[in-house]
Symmetry: none
DNA sequence: TATGAATGAGAATTCATTCAT
DNA sequence: CATGAATGAATTCTCATTCAT
C-alpha cells in the first residue's frame, strides 16, 4: 500500500470517527436541552442526561467534563443561531420601534414554536449569553421614541418580562396571541404611544431564514 | 421533692426548653434565608444550613424534616408579614394608581433595606406565595387607568420586572433611586401617563409599622 | 438545668464523641497498616481499608480524605514512636560504633517482633520520614571508626540493606539470628574490624521502654 | 494479475506489515520504559503508555494484552542483553574479587549512561529477573576473600545497595564517581581489604561490546 | 494493523439520615 | 432538645476493553 493510500485510509478513519463523535455530541445536547428545560440548571443528575440521550455514562464523559460544562455547551448550541437569525430577518427594517417590536414578536414566535427551547432559555438564561438588542434600545432612547427612568430599570423590566413570558409559553399556558400581546406591552412599557404600537403589531412578520437546518 | 415542686420544675424546664427551641429555630431560619439567597432553592445541601446556623446535623432534623420543608418555612417566615404590613401602610390611600405605585415603592424600599431578603425572594418566589396586589390592578383596569393587552401579559411583565429588580438590588448593583425608578417604569408599563406617575413619585412614602420586631 | 450543668453535659457529649472518633481512627490506621503492608502503597482501594477496618465507606471519609492522606497518617502513626524509643534505649551508651550497632539490632528486633510493621515500613518508607541516625554515623566517620568512599554511597548502602532486610523479615523468610547478622554485616560494610563487631554483637540488648502501650 | 505477481505483492505487504508492526512494538516498549521508570510498576494506566508512545488505545491491545504483560516484555527487552554483555566483557578476567568489582563498575556505568533504564530497573526489579553474579560470590566466600555472617544477609545488603544506587543515579543526584564509590563500598561490605579494593578500582574498565545496537 | 468512539463494570466520593450519648 | 460519629444508598467519575471502520 502506498503512503498516499495509507494516508487516505487514515484520513477516512479520522473523518468517520469525527462524524460519529459529532453526531453523539448533538444527541447529548438535544437531550440536555430537554432535561434542563424540565428540571432547571441545578437539579439534574448525570444519569438523566445519559438516559435521555440513550448513551452510556462513559460516553457522556468522553464529551463533557461535568454538568456545568454541558450546561454551557447547551446554552451556546441553543441560542447561538437565533439572535443572528433574527438580526438577518430584520435587515432592511428601519426605525428602532419597528425593529425592536418586530424582533420581540419573532423571538416569541420562535418560543411558541418550540416549548422545550422556551423553557430552557427561561430557566438557564443568564445575562450575557443572550443579549437584548442594545443598539435599537439606545437609538430609540436618543430619538425620544423610548422613555425610561434609567437604563438599568429598563433592561431589568424587559429582561424579566421576557423570562416570565418564556416560562408561560414553555409551560403551555399561553394563548396564540400571547407573544404579540407581550410584545405590545413591552413597547408600552417603553413609553411608545398606542398608535405606533398598533402599527408595529399590524406589520407583517418578516420571514425567518434558518441559517441551516439544524438536525435535532 | 413534692409533686408540686416537681411540676413547677418541669414547667420551668418545659418553658426554658421551648424558648431555647424557638431561639434555635429562628437561628436556623435566619441562616436558611442567607443560604437560599446565595445559592437558590435547589443547590444547597443540609450541611450548608448546619454550618451557617452553627448547629449540629442532629439539631437540624429536630426542627425540619427536609430541605423542602425548610424552604417552605423560610418563605413563610420571611414574606408573611411584609405584604400585610404594606397593606396596612396603604390604608386610607385612595386610587389604584397611587395605591399600586406606593405599594411598589414600599416593596422596593424593603428590598433595598435588606439585600439578603431581596435575593431570597428573587430566587425562591413562586407564584402564589407572594401575590401581586390583584385588587388594585383589576380596579385600575376597569377604571381605564391601566391599559394592557391581556391580564396574563400584564401579570408576567410586572412579575418578571420585580424579580429582576430584586436580583439587582440583592446583588448590590442598584443605585439609591433604583427602587423608585423601577416603580415609575412599572406604572409606565401599565399605560399610566407621565403626569400621574410624577404625582405618585412625589407622594410621601407612608410609614411602615413593623408588625413586631422580628429578631434576626 | 443550670448553665453549668448544661455545659458539663455538653463537655461530656463532646468528650465521648471525641473518644469514639479516636477509637475509630485507630481502627482505621491499624487496618491500613496491614493493608499497605500486604499490597504496597499504590495498589489498595478504599474498600480494602473499609473492609479491613470493619467500618462503612462514609466513616472512612469522615476521617481521611484519600488513600494518600491515609498513607501519610499511617506512616506517622507507625514510625513516630519507634525511633524516639530507640533513642531513649541507647541513652547512656557511648561510642558511635556501639550505638549504631545496638540501634540496628534494636530496630531489627522490632521488625522481627512485628512482621506487618516490617513490611509496611519496607514498602512505604521514603527518605525523610524515617531517618538514619545521622549523628552517630558522622561522628564515627570523623573519628575514623567508619570508612566510606562517600556519604551518599554509605547512606544508600545502609538504606537499601535495611529495606531489603525488612522485606525478608516481613515475608517471614528470616532466621532468628538474621537481624543480628544483618547488623554485623552493616558494620562490616562501614569498615569496622571484626573484633569490634564481635564486641557489639556480644553486648546485651538494652531494654526498650515503650513510650506508652499503644493499643492496636 | 498473475498468481505469482499476486503472491509477490502479498509477500511485500506482509513484510512491510511485519516491519511496521515491529517498529510500533519497539515504540511502545521504549515508551513503557519511560513510564514505568517514572511511575513504578503499579500506578500507570493504559492511557499513559498510549500517550507516551503516541499510538491509539486499539493499537496497544494489538500488541499487548495488559499492563502486566507489557511490564514483563519491557523487563525482558531491557535487561536481557545487559548481564550477558557484562559476562562477555569479564571473559578472561580472573579472581572473584576483581570479577565482581569490575562487574559492578560496569553495571553502574551502564546505569549512569541511561537514567531512564536506571530508574526502571530500580523500581521494577524483582528477584529473579536480574540476578546477582552468584558464582563469583560463592567462589569468593569459599576462598575466604569475601566474608559475611550469612548468605541471605549478604545478598540482601548487596541487592538493596544496588537498588538505592540506581534510584539515586536515575534521579540525577549522583556525582560522576558515584558508581565507582558504591562499587568500592560494596567490596568493603564483603570484607575485602582496602588494598585489594584499590587494585580493583585502578583496573581499566573492560570494553563492553553491545550484542547488537538495540534501536531505541 | 491502526484508529478512537463507545462501553459499562467498578472505584471514588457525597450527603441525607439515624442514633447512642 | 442538642450533639456529631457512623451509616450506606445514591451519585460521580475512571479506565480497561471492545469493535466498527
Amino acid at each position: 500500500m502506498s503512503a498516499t493510500a495509507r494516508r487516505r485510509t487514515t484520513d477516512h478513519r479520522t473523518r468517520v470517527g469525527r462524524e460519529r463523535s459529532a453526531r453523539t455530541e448533538t444527541k447529548i445536547l438535544a437531550a440536555a436541552l430537554r432535561v434542563f428545560a424540565e428540571r432547571g440548571p441545578d437539579a439534574p443528575k448525570i444519569d438523566e442526561f445519559v438516559a435521555a440521550a440513550g448513551i452510556s455514562r462513559g460516553t457522556f464523559y468522553n464529551h463533557f467534563d461535568s454538568v456545568g460544562a454541558l450546561l454551557t455547551a447547551t446554552s451556546e448550541w441553543t441560542t447561538g443561531e437565533l439572535l443572528r437569525t433574527i438580526e438577518v430577518a430584520l435587515d432592511g427594517i428601519e426605525g428602532p420601534v419597528l425593529r425592536f417590536g418586530l424582533g420581540l414578536r419573532l423571538f416569541f414566535a420562535k418560543a411558541q414554536s418550540d416549548h422545550v427551547w422556551s423553557l430552557f432559555v427561561a430557566r438557564v438564561w443568564k445575562m450575557g449569553s443572550l443579549e437584548l438588542p442594545v443598539r435599537d434600545l439606545e437609538e430609540g432612547l436618543q430619538l425620544g421614541l423610548f422613555r425610561a427612568p434609567s437604563p438599568d430599570a429598563m433592561r431589568d423590566l424587559l429582561f424579566g418580562a421576557v423570562r416570565e413570558a418564556l416560562l408561560r409559553i414553555g409551560g403551555g399556558h399561553a394563548s396564540r396571541q400571547y407573544g404579540d400581546e407581550m410584545s405590545a406591552l413591552c413597547l408600552q412599557a417603553l413609553g411608545v404611544d398606542s398608535r405606533r404600537i398598533a402599527t408595529v403589531m399590524r406589520h407583517a412578520l418578516p420571514a425567518v431564514v434558518p441559517a441551516e437546518a439544524v438536525e435535532r
